[in-house]
């Protein structure tokens, strides 16, 4: 990632931490979505598969943590880890048969998964409170130490995102990551080299589910309230946007896309009723002129500098 980009992001966060206000909440949500998108990138970016249902695992994370903390008084950190384990196990069970599908069929199957989970969260009112949602979710913390200050929450989320990024980069550059990217290039070509396609696809699916669950749990702890709409179709659309704007298949793209796509609506807030049009127009222009996403811009600048000898 270019030094300039890191500097800009660093300055932005610095300014928000100093001045505070509503932007802290915007960036908190950007960090949470960034974690979600990092996981989605494993499956859709590195492995080249389609998934319209990762919101299901975010719901497992969110509701898991909410129920364990509110009903059973679990420690938030423990509830988060347990919910991730539950999401991982669910993804293993669901993924094993589903991932035998390819292309559009896989996309539709995962879409169905998201819809089913949404419906469960609406209908199973004795567990999820239905449309009323789950309130009173405690903030993140361990033992007597809880993170209630908004700035501290943001810093904590930044650290968690950086950890997620580090894991993503290490795995991408490993033998495991190369195998995923080979599957993305050509499943037959990868199989012909001895790569067991089904196993790697399932591993990527489970990793994506773990990230999604973590994001769902963090949302619950940061906001203190969840409802079915949080993990509905809107989440699918927003996270896809973030992933493609940032750069699908890149290491930093998902995080960058989450930050940019979260801040853009705030930039156009003064446009009033034209806010959504302006936001959509800018996204379209980004994708037209840089279809590989914003993270590809650094590479473009580097190659132009190399050509000019600068």
């Amino acid at each position: 990632m270019s030094v300039g980009c890191v500097l800009v992001v660093g300055l932005l966060f610095g300014a928000v931490l100093v001045y505070g206000g509503y932007l802290i909440t915007v960036l908190q949500l950007a960090m949470i979505y960034g974690i979600f998108c990092l996981g989605l990138n494993f499956f859709m970016g590195y492995t080249g598969q389609a998934s319209f249902g990762q919101n299901a695992f975010a719901a497992i994370g969110g509701y898991g943590t909410a129920i364990l903390c509110v009903e059973y008084k679990w420690e938030p950190a423990l509830a988060l880890v347990f919910s991730m384990a539950a999401a991982g196990l669910t993804s293993l069970v669901v993924g094993y048969p589903t991932l035998r599908l390819r292309g559009h069929y896989l996309a539709m199957a995962t879409f169905a998964l998201g819809l089913i989970t949404y419906d469960i969260s609406v209908q199973w009112t004795s567990l999820t409170q239905g449309y009323m949602g789950y309130a009173g979710i405690p903030p993140l913390g361990i033992g007597p130490f809880t993170i209630e200050d908004e700035r501290l929450k943001l810093l904590c989320l930044v650290v968690l995102l950086l950890i997620g990024l580090w894991i993503s980069q290490r795995l991408r550059d490993s033998r495991f990551g190369r195998a995923l990217r080979a599957i993305s290039g050509s499943e037959n070509g990868a199989a012909a080299l001895g790569i067991r396609i089904s196993r790697y696809k399932l591993a990527a699916f489970v990793i994506a589910a773990l990230y999604a669950s973590a994001a769902g749990s963090l949302f619950a702890h940061v906001v203190g309230f969840i409802s079915p709409e949080v993990f509905g179709l809107q989440m699918v659309v927003v996270t896809f946007t973030m992933l493609y704007v940032g750069g699908i298949g890149t290491v930093y793209g998902p995080a960058l896309g989450a930050i940019v796509a979260s801040l853009l609506p705030e930039i156009f807030r003064s446009a009033g009723r034209f806010q959504d049009i302006a936001y959509s127009a800018v996204l379209l222009l980004m994708l037209i002129f840089e279809p590989k996403g914003l993270s590809a811009l650094a590479g473009l600048v580097r190659s132009r500098r190399a050509k000019s000898g600068g």
């Binding site: 190369r178 990217r181 080979a182 290039g185 050509s186 012909a192």
Partner: protein, 240 residues
Amino acid sequence: MRTAFGDMPLMAVKDLAANYGHIAALKPTNLHVASGEFVTVLGPNGAGKTTLLRAITRLIASSGRIVFEGRDVSGLRTHELAKLGIIMVPEGRGLFGEMSVRENLLLGAYGSGAADIEPRFERVFGLFPRLRERIDQIAASMSGGEQQMLAVGRALMAEPKLLILDEPSLGLAPRVAFEILSTLGQLNKGGLSILLVEQKAPLALRLAQRVYVLSSGCIRAELPTYEIKSYRDLTRYYFH
């Protein structure tokens, strides 16, 4: 089965057949490759040559029996056959274009330990020095000839027992095609068993010990190449 290279072939297929829907692209076919042998499969376009190779490597559903090193491997999947040493360089090279030369080669050695990587790199660079120069270059940005070298090099990283190639000279300049096929001949002289599907018949016939002619999904002829006086001897089988 007795072969010129000994009694037991390295690989033998019996009644291997494959369909695309209701079209019998490959009718029940028998073929074998002995250990250390260079076998080529020739035939017109649409004969079923690529289908034959894809059926052998289980990239498509097929019926029939495949025996490799004396073991029935008919039920194994593509990645399992690769682990046994059956490595294919597909038509069109099958490179991972967004990955570098280094990454493509490392994927070739997917099933091996870290200690084996460097010696294998050196072996491949010895055969294709240009790959060392281009080690960090993205595969999609290389020329056709360099990509074909990379495809063969990647296959060699797997230390195959049987190297299967589908039209490696396709789209290449004659000089480059000659260079690559000559390298295959060199590898065969070193003991590597090769099954080659090729359009450039004269060059393939110079390197191979035996030839199959495939037409309309059937083997029409099987000959030792020394019996072939000219390429025209074979073409009568093309339009059977």
